[in-house]
Symmetry: C3
Subunit: 267 residues, 3 copies
């Protein structure tokens, strides 16, 4: 679709002019709805992810047990599948969770952590991509592994189009595309990459926003703005990555629509 | 037992007048004894639970391995069974741990996390209730699932009486009953519900206090006062749930008997 | 080797006079190289360990899956095997990881957590000792269990000599020996023992330094100075163990060579 590709590379600025307002509306609905977000995520990330969701006003759950996960996903408003520390139980849980999400219409996010470090994991991730996630969130190395191309506007749009999902690629600036639209979000702070599970927690926040929006693209932009701007606010109160991790939770719990609109850096 | 029910609903205030002093004595013995507390708890809660126990002067251990857990429980002064993120290994570990605790007279606490979200988990929790925990700690939704009645003074006392244990129900105010006695503890701070594992860590603290007291009722009151008052002190130094989580550990490590007595809000 | 033993008990101070400078050089190479450190560690410690490694400028990974761990270890610059919360999956992962490390020349650290609490674990640890770790890090009770002798300069040197590795024993002061040399490092702060996983994270930092130095002895000294001095700096900004845990990450991320040399307390 070369025409779309052209449009993506030089979008009229008016196209996305209302995106901060739409993202702010998603965040307000997130606070109002307190969605239940079930997370299959790695043990490194579980605690921080739960705290990020709680700070944002959501209700996290994390069980993996084959007997239970169906009930948890069926009762959830969104689902996160994160492949970090993949193991047998997590793979079984993932199969049940994805099937339940499809049956119940629960939106889900795939975060294929470290697919660039393990062929077995990349294979498993490709199988999940075929199951129809609403959104895929990953970093540049992970994107390159799954897309077979470096992360930029055109490849992001092609990947989203090919897999029928939104893709959100984290990097110095985040790229988000649903195939038709591509934006770059420049909010955030360097300390975000020095706190483990920041990316994983960000993917959980994207899942939470999917539960608060009809438009997956706006939901993804909302979540990334929320996290990135919280990071900027937190950095002002922190002296390094340790105090920053505590302060970003504080910032997430109070960040309001007007601050989000005022600070959004979308291109 | 309507007479007891009556008494419970309108206890003479003198009945519990010395409860803060007795709770403070439990906390002082806790600091002096440094009990070993073995915790079967969910992976989300393990780190914060260990830090809460360390801050309170205890020695946590968390292993789940079938070959090892018997030794750990036999060498512990108290045991916590928390059902969050229940899985096959945790269920096997629980069976061994509960059997060992019964043989060795190690007091134990059951925290039936999320039984309201999964029938399989509620079933497993009922089996554990029949094994004779010294104390059951749970929130209002979990209590309603296991007790078949909403959480209030009479139902709490009936539940404790029926199961031969102390019950501690967390909510805006905590309810504690051993069947004969019921008290309400109003200490705490709203940020406590925005930090993951705060309830799980509180249950571990109850287990620790069981190891420092002959009276499970006083032990439970002591632990809930300790955590709730630490929360109030921490909030004064925090700007949100992230900095609050760090500050509650600071407060737990220094909270003394006189502060506990002065701030206790028991009704 | 009585002559060596004599020398160890009364080393000429000149022998270790340049050790702070050599340790500082290791830390500078650590920052420059950003080594990948794969950690098989317990679920309590994973998050804090990852944050310590990130704060120090390293890239942590933590997967345990049998299909994947070979790839992760082969691509890593150092490996940590920590036995806390030992289970079936971790034991399988450990076998694969140690074999891969031997084949690829990846240096590895053994941290035999709690071998004093479980005979099964002590047995497993002895098997791993025979596989040739570059370094063993443990506390005094764990050392006594594996060495059959209390921790002091001579027994440390004998243990290191017998197993062909460096040994680092944590305590009020840390003892480090490679058989020929023994030093005591007195940096640190009491709050370090009130934060869970501080020791585990320290062992991960030792592994990271092994990836940045040819000399395992200097690497170990570097890691222990880095953590101990970061602890001293963090304590100045903290009010208790909770805020201390955040501040030690801040301190680790900025601690420079000149501060390390100025504050090193080696005897």
């Amino acid at each position: 679709m070369p025409a779309e590709g052209e449009e993506m590379r030089s979008p009229e600025s008016s196209t996305f002019a209302d995106l901060p307002q739409r993202a702010a509306a998603v965040v307000e609905r997130l606070r109002a709805r307190s969605p239940r977000v079930h997370c299959i995520t790695n043990t490194v990330a579980q605690n921080f992810t739960a705290n990020v969701l709680l700070a944002a006003g959501c209700i996290p759950s994390m069980t993996l047990s084959a007997e239970e996960i169906g009930s948890f996903v069926a009762g959830a408003n969104a689902l996160l599948i994160n492949l970090g520390t993949l193991d047998v139980e997590r793979r079984q849980a993932t199969d049940i969770a994805v099937t339940t999400a499809a049956e119940r219409g629960v939106p889900w996010v795939l975060d294929p952590v470290f697919v660039d470090r393990s062929a077995a994991r990349a294979e498993f991730a490709r199988g999940l991509l075929a199951c129809g996630p609403n959104l895929v969130r990953l970093n540049e190395a992970e994107f390159a592994t799954l897309a077979g191309a470096p992360a930029e506007r055109t490849s992001a749009a092609q990947f989203a189009d090919a897999h029928g999902c939104v893709v959100a690629i984290s990097g110095k600036a985040d790229l988000v595309s649903d195939g038709a639209r591509v934006v770059q979000i420049a909010n955030g702070h360097p300390w975000m990459s020095q706190v483990t599970a920041m990316g994983c927690a960000g993917s959980a926040l994207v899942a939470a926003c999917l539960a608060a929006a009809d438009d997956s693209f706006a939901a993804s932009v909302a979540a990334l703005l929320l996290l990135g701007i919280a990071g900027e606010l937190a950095a002002a109160h922190a002296k390094g990555p340790g105090t920053f991790a505590a302060n970003i939770l504080d910032a997430l719990s109070t960040l309001d629509a007007s601050t989000l609109i005022a600070r959004a850096r979308i291109a």
